[in-house]
Every structure is written in C-alpha cells, then in structure tokens.
C-alpha cells in the first residue's frame, strides 16, 4: 500500500477519499485554491498544498501543479476524485510519466471512453447496445440530415462531455442552429473541445447505470445498478439501488453488458457504464462510461457492503480484487440525495454565501458525505454540491421513510438549497411508484414553491431577534448555560464549566 497519496480534488469527495486513506494507514495530501484556504478538505488532510488562484484553470485543472505538489510532498499516487481532471486521459498519462500512480483506469481506457463518438463506435463493435445516432458530423446540414433520419426529438451533445454540460434536446429543425452553437460553446468552455454528436432522444427515459470494478490482473465484475432518473437541468439529484424497474434477468443482462464494455477498453479500477432505459420496451442502450468514481458511489457501497474508495487505492497499489461475480450481493435498498446550493423556484440556479449553520442528520442507516461545515463559504467558482445524504434500509419504502427523516433532521442555513425540495420529491406518488423519468422534475414539480412560514416559525424568528435586547432572559436551566455564549468580536472559546 502507498505511504502517502495526493487528492487532486476538493469538497466532499476529497474528504471521502481522505477517510479511506485514514483507515488504510495512508497519509493524505490536500490541494487547494486561494478560495479554499479555509475549506474543510484543506484542513482535513494530513498536509495541504496551495495550487493557486480560485479560477479552476489556475488551480484544480492544472496538471503541472498537481504533479509538482505530489513530488514536493513525496506522495506516491494521485486520486483524481470526480469532475475536474478525473476523466482527462492526458492527466492520467502525465501522472504515470512522472513516475507516480494514477488511482483510476489506464489513460488508454479513459481516452477510449472519453470521446462520446468514438466510444459509441467501439461499444457497437463489442456488441453492447447503443442509442441510434450519428457521430463525426460538423456542418449544420449534416446534423439536420442525421436528425431527420433518426427522427425528432434528438439530443445534441458534446463528444467530450459529461455531467449534462454541452447537451441540448432538439425537437425540430428550427431549433438546431442555436442548439449547436450553445452546446459547442459550453463544450469548449468545459472540456476545451467543441465536437458534437447527435442521437435519438428517448422520451420517458430512465437513467440506469452499472457500477463496474476491475483490478490490474484483468478481473472485472459489476456491482449492480443505480437508478438515477431524478434529475434537474440534466443533473442527478437522487440516486438509488436497486432500481425499482429492473427484473433479475434485466439486471444480469445489463451487468454483463457493462462488464463487456469495460473489458473492451481494458478497464481497471472503479467505473460506471451509463445506460438509457426505455421502460415501454424494457430495452437499454449504452450512453457513456464514466471512467472514475461517481458522486453516487455510496449507494452501491451500502447495498454491496464494499468500500469502493478503499478498493480503488488497494487495486491501484497492485492488490487483487478478491471477489468473483457470484460472491457479490445486492441487499436492502439505498438512496442518495444530493444537497445543492441552489435556488429551486428560481430555476435551480446556484446560490452562494456563508454557511451559517449546518447540522447533519444522524441515526441508524444514515450516512452523510459532506464537504462543508458551519462557517464554510460557498463560492461561485465550483460545483454547488455541498453534501450527500445516503440512507440504507431493508426495502424501498423503509429507505424512503428514512431519507425523509434524514432530510427533516438536516439544518442548512446561509445558502439557498434543495433540502425542502428533495422532501417534496420523496413524498410524491410518482416517486413512490418508481415512475420518475429523467424529465419528470421539470414537469411534475415545475410549480413547486418553498413552504410558507407558519406562526411558529414567525414566532421563533421574532424571539431570536428580541434576544439581543434581553440577554439575561436566557434559559430555563437552573445553572448558567456555559455552552452557548455569544460575543460580537472575534474570539476564542473553550468548553468550560464555572
């Protein structure tokens, strides 16, 4: 096992990986930008190295700085997390060239899957079902012709893309020009690449993905599915496993297809094969492969009982993955909710500000992977994902009840967020029935507005306001409450009794 690794990421995923390091006895090096000097991940690591200014290009997207930081701290390997450079084949290659270990798949596998157009071609060749579509187009006329032959609606998307960026639904020829232009611009900004492809847009589609895992000895297995259909702005907000839609037969078929896909590119380490699932035909199409750990990996950890983050380090250090497909079990039900800093009724636009209070929910079967704490600053520079709530319970209804309890037990003040909105989703009949498609949020909950303050809430706010004027009114407790002091200046506090 490594003695020390560098985590080339920030937020909750950096902390998740540092926890894995702690348990494996591996020292962790954090990296941070100027904006993250006081961030939780910076302070959670054993060491931290400043990369540069807040803008990602000058910090979390800078290959040279990561490698220099690893070299200067004596880290032997780099974990890329998700987002940023995690799916950049050049980064993986540069890490290897520097004599370090990249904790992820080989650069060749990232490259093969990174290009949406090429990966589709190679998956077709490997016998994995793919969505009808066309790649390698450039002129408007070519896109129009392809869309005509596929049939509208079609989806135009970045060949280098992921995470919903550079993606547009086109419902008629008239919409094509602006869709191409904006998708190209977003793709250029996000990936430095403006190639697009076009494919059939499946209405009422479910997004179901299969977790795969491989070691360096050519052994690849799948770890069952995750249903990720609850999305807004093409980004997942709730994921679960198992999917309420799959039969054991379909699950086995999709799992085998995912292993085939991974095998075709010589995959190693954790990866996810995403499928579009058409419930009307019970058919599935390869969408893309994410060649990294996913945001929603905890859902799989809970139903399989395996620690994927720890196994990432272990297989990268040369260990064999000891489980055969038959050893793996999917038990109970897990759900993840992503807590986003966003203004839900304002079109899910990101929100920024200081975190005035963050209280994590607790209880049996509740896991919280957080990137913030009370006092953190949420800036506009990075992804608005603040934390993830993940629950495990024996079946889907119990897991939904548990997640509702977890959401109700969460306090998050200072940045607008989706905690109340997530409750509305979980309480919806369509969600209970497993009928949620990737377009569901925009239609079923379009008119959602935050709860309106009742008398109790108004009373609490008024009393809190008043307290400044009457500091001695205080508590009912007979003894002075030593644990709740307040001072206007910057100060220092110890737990103390008097």
């Amino acid at each position: 096992m490594f003695n020390k690794i560098l985590i080339a990421n920030r937020g909750e995923i950096a902390i998740r990986i540092m926890r894995a390091c702690q348990e494996l006895g591996v020292r962790s090096v954090a990296v941070y930008s100027d904006a993250d000097a006081e961030a939780l991940h910076t302070r959670f690591a054993d060491e931290a190295v400043l990369l540069g200014p807040a803008a990602p290009r000058e910090s979390y997207l800078n290959i040279e700085k990561f490698i220099a930081a690893a070299k200067s701290t004596g880290a032997e390997a780099i974990h890329p997390g998700y987002g940023f450079l995690s799916e950049n084949a050049g980064f993986a290659a540069a890490v290897k060239e520097a004599g370090l270990v990249f904790i992820g798949p080989p650069a060749s596998a990232i490259r093969a899957m990174g290009d949406k157009a090429e990966s589709k071609i190679s998956m077709k060749a490997a016998g994995v079902p793919t969505v009808p579509g066309a790649e390698g187009l450039s002129a408007l006329e070519q896109f129009l012709a392809a869309a005509e032959s596929i049939g509208y609606p079609v989806l135009v998307k970045a060949a280098a893309g992921g995470g919903g960026k550079g993606m547009r639904v086109v419902r008629s020829a008239r919409e094509m020009p602006e869709a191409l232009e904006s998708a190209r611009r977003e793709s250029q900004n996000a990936f430095g690449d403006e190639r697009l492809l076009v494919e059939k847009y499946v209405e009422n589609a479910h997004h179901i993905e299969i977790q795969v895992f491989g070691d360096s000895f050519g052994h690849i297995v799948h770890l069952f599915e995750r249903e990720c259909s609850v999305q807004r702005r093409h980004q997942k907000i709730i994921e679960e496993s198992p999917s309420p839609l799959l039969t054991p037969e379909l699950r086995a078929e999709m799992g085998a297809a995912a292993v085939k896909a991974a095998g075709a590119v010589g995959y190693q380490n954790a990866g996810t094969v995403e499928f579009i699932f058409d419930p009307s035909a019970a058919s599935f199409y390869f969408l893309e492969m994410n060649t990294r750990l996913q945001v929603e990996h905890p859902v799989t950890e809970l139903v399989t009982g395996l620690d994927l983050a720890q196994w990432q380090l272990r297989v990268a250090a040369g260990e064999r993955f000891p489980f055969a497909q038959v050893d793996l079990t999917q038990r109970g039900h897990a759900i993840e909710c992503r807590l986003y800093a966003e203004d839900v009724p304002g079109g899910f636009l990101p929100s920024t500000g200081p975190v005035l209070q963050f209280i994590e929910p607790r209880g049996p079967g509740i896991r919280v992977d957080a990137g913030i704490e009370t006092g953190s600053q949420v800036s506009h520079y990075y992804d608005p994902l603040l934390a993830k709530l993940i629950v495990y319970a024996e079946d889907r209804p119990a897991a939904i009840r548990r997640m509702l309890a977890a959401l109700r037990g969460t306090v998050l003040h200072g940045v607008l967020n989706n905690v109340d909105f997530l409750q509305a989703v979980l309480l919806h009949d369509d969600f209970a029935a497993g009928k949620v498609t990737t377009r569901w949020v925009e239609s079923a909950l379009a008119g959602w507005t935050p709860p309106v303050a009742d008398f109790s809430a108004l009373a609490a706010a008024a009393l809190a306001e008043m307290s400044g004027a009457r500091p001695q009114q205080s508590t009912a407790s007979a003894e002075p409450d030593a644990f709740s002091p307040w001072k206007s200046g910057s100060g220092f506090r110890l737990g103390e009794t008097r």
Binding site: L349, P350, L407, P450, L463, A464
Partner: protein, 166 residues
C-alpha cells in the same frame, strides 16, 4: 418591539418570564425554554390555551432570517419596524440583472443595438453552468455596465434596455 418579516407584522412584549407576541393581529404567548448556538426550544401558547413545544434553528445574515422548524426551512426578509415603510422590491424596469453571482462569459450585443424579445444578450457562467440573459421585450440597448470576464454579484445590472415604442 415591532418588526416586519416578509409581509407579516409582529409585535413582541416582554411579560415577566415570557413574551406576548402579536402576529398579524393574532395573539400568542411565547416562552424561551432553552437557547444556544442558533437553536431554540420554545413553548407557544395560543389564546385558546392550547400549548405546543417546538425546537427551532435560527440564523441571520443581513436582513435575511433563516428558521428551520419541524424539518422545514423558511427564509424570511426582515424589514424596518412597522412604523417606517420603504419602497418594496428593486427597480428592474428596463434593467436586466444577473440571476446569480458568477462571471460574464459573453456579451452578445452592443449599446445602440435593437433587440427582440427572447434574444440572448449576455451569458453568465457560475459553477460551470451557462445562464442566458434574454431580452424581456423588444427594445434598444442603452448601456452595458459589464464586460466579458467580469465577476458579477447576484442582481447586479448587466444591461440597461429601452422599451421599443409600440
């Protein structure tokens, strides 16, 4: 003490160890059982004598108040005491403001340009997401107080627009 939270008028009067609270004219007796680190345990008693114990989490930032109670979070705007009133809302007529803090990614028009309703004028990017700011009516660009690459705050004016004569 009088205060206004969103559209509600509140009046708070200390009465011994508790408070008399008037919310939009309705009376309520309130007692603080415990308060620490942004958490309050309250006893609320209505005029009919029915009582309720609630735990509330409260935070404040500027004029904004956050209250979490019963698993739901309410964001309230505090305005000056009931006596004083001020013009509500912000003047946006003819001004297009940034819907969120971020960076101006592209300015697609110039002062003097005639624009049509729905036309994208400026693109703002935050957290890697593109937001198009489009013209709400046909008109003419008067002024563009921002430029590409500039960091903008939420509600900062991006474009001043003059409505076309109909």
């Amino acid at each position: 003490m009088k205060l206004k939270l969103d559209s509600h008028s509140l009046e708070l009067t200390p009465t011994g160890k508790s408070y008399m609270l008037k919310i939009d004219g309705q009376e309520l007796a309130a007692e603080i059982l415990r308060a620490e680190n942004g958490r309050m345990e309250l006893q609320l008693r209505q005029a009919d004598g029915s009582a309720r114990k609630v735990t509330a989490y409260v935070s404040s930032s500027g004029a904004r108040r956050w209250v979490t109670l019963g698993g739901q979070t309410f964001v309230l705007a505090k305005s000056a005491g009931v006596g004083k009133t001020r013009a509500s809302g912000h003047h946006t007529g003819g001004e297009l403001v940034s819907p969120m803090p971020g960076q101006v990614r592209a300015v697609l028009v110039n002062p003097g340009d005639a624009v049509t309703k729905g036309q994208t004028l400026v693109i703002v990017e935050a957290m890697k997401m593109e937001i198009k700011v489009a013209a709400p009516f046909d008109g003419m660009v008067k002024k563009i107080p921002v430029k590409t690459g500039q960091t903008v705050e939420r509600e900062q004016v991006l474009v001043e627009l003059e409505r076309a004569h109909e």
